[in-house]
Amino acid sequence: MSADPAHNVSGAHGHDEIEMPHASMRDYVIGFVLSVILTAIPFWLVMTMPLSAGATGAIIMGFAVVQIVVHMVFFLHMTPKAEGGWSLTSLVFTIIVVVIMLAGSLWVMHHLNTNMMPMPHEPTSQVTGQVP
């Protein structure tokens, strides 16, 4: 690890100090205001239901993704350069594993349900795992 060139460059300022992300008031305030907006709109959409359920669902999922990015950038101080890029690398790896796991679980279990369950045909296919 000591021959990591990125580490030598970023560690140039301050020898005894541990390298830490620099936080600023501006970051926290922007992050907080964005989070409040991105939280309030989904709650408002679901509580008053001005749109159809499908559209509301898609919108609130989109807002959640945006808010997670906002938290990563403004609260967790995530930058491509943090820790010489290894933070971002591990994050990308984790996201890939999480997406495979979530999508794979849903896909496999959905197929098991539709293929294996001797249930009467109903439009609502939400009968996952019920004991008949």
Binding site: I18, M20, H22, Y28, T39, A64, M72, S90, T94, G129
Partner: protein, 208 residues
């Protein structure tokens, strides 16, 4: 991980013989980040469980019958406030003010306790009306997912109190600064997980 490029006159080295310094804590932040990523996988598994089992009500209550969105909105606000107050603690630390750090940590802890109190009230209410974890697969996975998050917040608060004692004993030494930054990552990470919980479990549950 050696980024050294080989030159022709240098003998080929297959391992590192020279001693080099390992300053204390120089890789702690990255290590802690990787721990958080592994924690992320735990939550991903629990989210996947909930996604698969969340529709199995076993003729019991559905999310629509159980979730009180006003309470969840209040809970979300508590966690969001605790996030920015922790940010203020970090800013005070950068200015070297140990009293300020402790004050904002204490406020963060209070918001965290408020969050936990509301969540425990919700769990107590659900169990009381017969919608406990043993009622259906939906409720089992719900209690596991939300309970695991609550458990993380609990341990975060224990860590926070410990940190306040360490700060009052040793002040803003390098080790304590590092601890403040690690708990900062942990705390904001829990807020990130909560975004998933309130969107995917509560809001989508009520839509369903």
């Amino acid at each position: 991980m050696s980024a050294k490029t080989m030159t022709a006159d240098e003998p080929v080295q297959f391992y590192d013989l020279d001693e080099h310094a390992h300053p204390e804590g120089h890789s702690t932040m990255l290590g802690f980040w990787i721990y958080l990523m592994s924690d992320c996988l735990i939550f991903a598994i629990l989210f996947a469980c909930y996604a698969v089992l969340g529709g199995s009500y076993a003729a019991g209550p559905a999310p629509k019958d159980l979730f009180d969105l006003k309470l969840i909105a209040l809970n979300t606000a508590m966690l969001l406030f605790s996030s920015i107050t922790y940010g203020f603690a970090v800013l005070q630390m950068q200015q070297g003010k140990v009293r300020g750090v402790q004050l904002w940590l204490a406020i963060t802890g209070l918001f965290g306790l408020a969050f936990l109190g509301i969540e425990l009230y919700e769990f107590h209410h659900l169990i009381e009306i017969g919608a406990g974890p043993q009622r259906s697969a939906f409720l089992s996975s719900f209690f596991t997912l939300v309970g695991t998050h609550g458990l993380h917040v609990t341990f975060g608060i224990i860590w926070l109190v410990t940190l306040m004692f360490q700060l009052s004993k040793h002040g803003l030494i390098a080790a304590n600064k590092r601890r403040v930054m690690c708990l900062s990552m942990f705390w904001h990470f829990l807020d990130v997980v909560w975004i998933g919980v309130f969107t995917f479990v509560y809001l989508m549950g009520v839509l369903r």
